[in-house]
Symmetry: C3
Subunit: 360 residues, 3 copies
Amino acid sequence: MFIRNAWYVAATPNEIDPLGAGQPLARQVCGERMVLFRGPGGAISALEDFCPHRGAPLSLGRVCDGELVCGYHGLRMGCDGRTVAMPGQRVRGFPAIRAWPVAEYAGFVWVWPGDPALASHEQLPALPWADGAAVKPGWAYGGGHYEIACEWRLMIDNLMDLTHETYVHADSIGQPEIDETPSQTRVVGDEVITSRTMNAIQAPPFWQQALAMNGLPTDQPVDRWQVCHFTPPSHVMIEVGVALAGRGGIDAPDDAKAATIVVDFITPETAGSIHYFWGMARRFRADDAELTARIREGQGRIFSEDRAMLEQQQRNLAAHPTRDLLKLNIDSGGVMSRRLIDRLLAAEAAAASAQIPAAA
Amino acid sequence: MFIRNAWYVAATPNEIDPLGAGQPLARQVCGERMVLFRGPGGAISALEDFCPHRGAPLSLGRVCDGELVCGYHGLRMGCDGRTVAMPGQRVRGFPAIRAWPVAEYAGFVWVWPGDPALASHEQLPALPWADGAAVKPGWAYGGGHYEIACEWRLMIDNLMDLTHETYVHADSIGQPEIDETPSQTRVVGDEVITSRTMNAIQAPPFWQQALAMNGLPTDQPVDRWQVCHFTPPSHVMIEVGVALAGRGGIDAPDDAKAATIVVDFITPETAGSIHYFWGMARRFRADDAELTARIREGQGRIFSEDRAMLEQQQRNLAAHPTRDLLKLNIDSGGVMSRRLIDRLLAAEAAAASAQIPAAA
Amino acid sequence: MFIRNAWYVAATPNEIDPLGAGQPLARQVCGERMVLFRGPGGAISALEDFCPHRGAPLSLGRVCDGELVCGYHGLRMGCDGRTVAMPGQRVRGFPAIRAWPVAEYAGFVWVWPGDPALASHEQLPALPWADGAAVKPGWAYGGGHYEIACEWRLMIDNLMDLTHETYVHADSIGQPEIDETPSQTRVVGDEVITSRTMNAIQAPPFWQQALAMNGLPTDQPVDRWQVCHFTPPSHVMIEVGVALAGRGGIDAPDDAKAATIVVDFITPETAGSIHYFWGMARRFRADDAELTARIREGQGRIFSEDRAMLEQQQRNLAAHPTRDLLKLNIDSGGVMSRRLIDRLLAAEAAAASAQIPAAA
């Protein structure tokens, strides 16, 4: 159901004890109920949210000196899932709880809900705007976090077929030319890329504003592009932008275009719900925090339209579980992504069953 | 579970795009999730609320030029359940979605959730106050729509045994004489009729008001009648009234009585819930819209008392699924109606299994 | 799942028709939906909340002349579960509904959800402050009622291991000495007793106030005790107090100590929820109603902290149904209590299967 041996965005660093009061964070990732907290030195741990003593959620406890103290009977849990101490008890024989690999990277807290032995930081996705844990100089990033009651693959479908913009986001980024222009989908290794180029069109409202912010005229024809990149387990990055017509489109010089990257980290919460970390990375006016806030607000409004649609779609599909859907050319981005996902799920299942020794 | 080859009230015409903004209506009838909208020329269609492309609810879309445009990717659905167009697609091979017969009749939108081949307008119920789609001159009709969390047959039981008026509606139409007077039940073809006559009694508050509205004295003894008519699948019409005592009861001349028809169209929504379209048809002061509104308000209050009781009864029966109930003489209206329903359900089941060819 | 042949607190007397308007009370005990009302003479009855006619909840009806009149069709139910009358009906053949033994005792309404033939008032628990239905002169009692979404045994665990006070109730009755002092558990017949004595410590805030109320100094070392008594099916009584250090602890003279009894009647509602009747009995300033109210308020606040923890623990255990918990020395009170419960459950199951005659 989930690709487990992969990095997922679980939180933003500011969600973990923002007030410094020792408050841990409860979060569910791929069905695993986790508690996240900062251990000694500030490194983040992700443990099962389950006290080995009586099953109380550790997330109701408090962090003291980098240890997570259970709020029920005071068991002190260490960063590695092993009990450190408990008043009046010898804890050496206490069973450990699960600890999952954690990374702070690109302004996010990432967890690996699968086998810790298989995790490495090298497998974190390459992000052009990321500089280790933070954002690279010259770039700006703004975004938000939605909880959405839909199966995670529905969001991938949504993002890998942007014809929906014309209908779901008619007032902001939609325009009929999207429908009218075919998209191309190709698979490059473990990446699915769907792209569409619309030349010599009028920019829709969102992009007119972006042109204005870049000091470019808003009333001239533009070349618009959308290049959607899916990478497993469930990340979608979309290069989007407009350039003055005939200046090279996506390859136009910076002073002739407005370009950004739409960022979508989709983290399954349960079989029917996701944590959706959405945002936008850009290289123009990177120091303009007010602009970042304004873009964030507009993008949040647009993505809340997707949320409404996907939650209703999820309910409708659940009511018609055996029904086939169409796979049109516009769906090939989603279809290819699902094919890649199925291959990885099968590989994980095969590896898991290989670990079970056959009966002698 | 449901009689499918029958007409049910699904909505009132004013529910379907009242603002003319192209808004379709989602409604569930006999477990079928439908979308209702006005096609070209204004005729109403009822289709599956399921876009054949990706399963989005079509009811989230908009009606344009009599076609229903999916709010996700712009598929254009026609009145017959066949896709008309979709940007950039050849739609000829798209699978059709189900379309159910619809009729506008007597101020209601009726749907036939079963086999369309079996539907005809002749099967719509005869209603004395109906003149095609509208209400007959000389009659007035007012009513409302409740969603009630109970199995549909519980409401039939309720309406076919009016002794509950004494307890559930003690302040308005209840009176002890109802309990004290036996009722008679008979079956005439596909109709169950339960009747009760109470002679030379005091009128309860509701009927005192009705007498006054008819210019009749309220302090004199009256003959009161209740004649409940059940017809399949789940319609109950109740002739009710009071006449000055000794003037002929239900057959008294108009100037000696106050008489109305209580109208109950019970439409199963799911196995445990109904759409309940209730109302009252009358022939006195038919042009008095203020009176229609006042009656509607009073009736709505009375029927909300039934709603509370039936929802609790439903929960109680669900908690005691194996328990037998009593079938008393006062219950014979409901018992006979259920017997008729069972016969029709069995006939539908037999016809359905006859359509499955036997293995050679 | 439940010990059925036992007395449980179902309500307080003032919950049953406090306005004298004939209003019955619906309550679920050990999964049984009951209706409680006062019959002729004022004695309380507990019957199935199910009208034998059509299954309406009798709790929606009204009490008239000591009979419970169904709010749907006027069936009159007697205190013994037998129908007394119904308009226009001979009721002799109506099936009886279940009636459970009821006792008014110690300021509570008790019911016996099992076999009525096995119930006797002698089996009501001995309570030092009880004088028949009321509270003994010289004693004061105050308490409240919480509905908590947890399995009933989790509350027993909670009360039989008070080390949680240090963490859950840090601001009021918690103090580190509780953790540091081992407790002793012993079983005496059908009673489990867990006790802890902490000598020459500082009193925590709650007890400082209690000392002041008794006219004792609050800044001197005290000896503190906690003696938890579990008795089946699910009652926990806890003797708690502080005495000036060296004066005899729990056995100190009244003018050197502040002592109370924490009272916990745990009544399973369903498999995953309880009615929790908590309170405090005391012998000092018994006539001070304002003090009773103040203690009640403080205790209510403390016990609402337990409620939050137990509901989360319940949810966490439900999400990890196969997982073993630890049984530490501090848990021995709960472990011994559960062992006693298991023995009684097995005895009830054996007695029930012995009543089923073997096939010949």
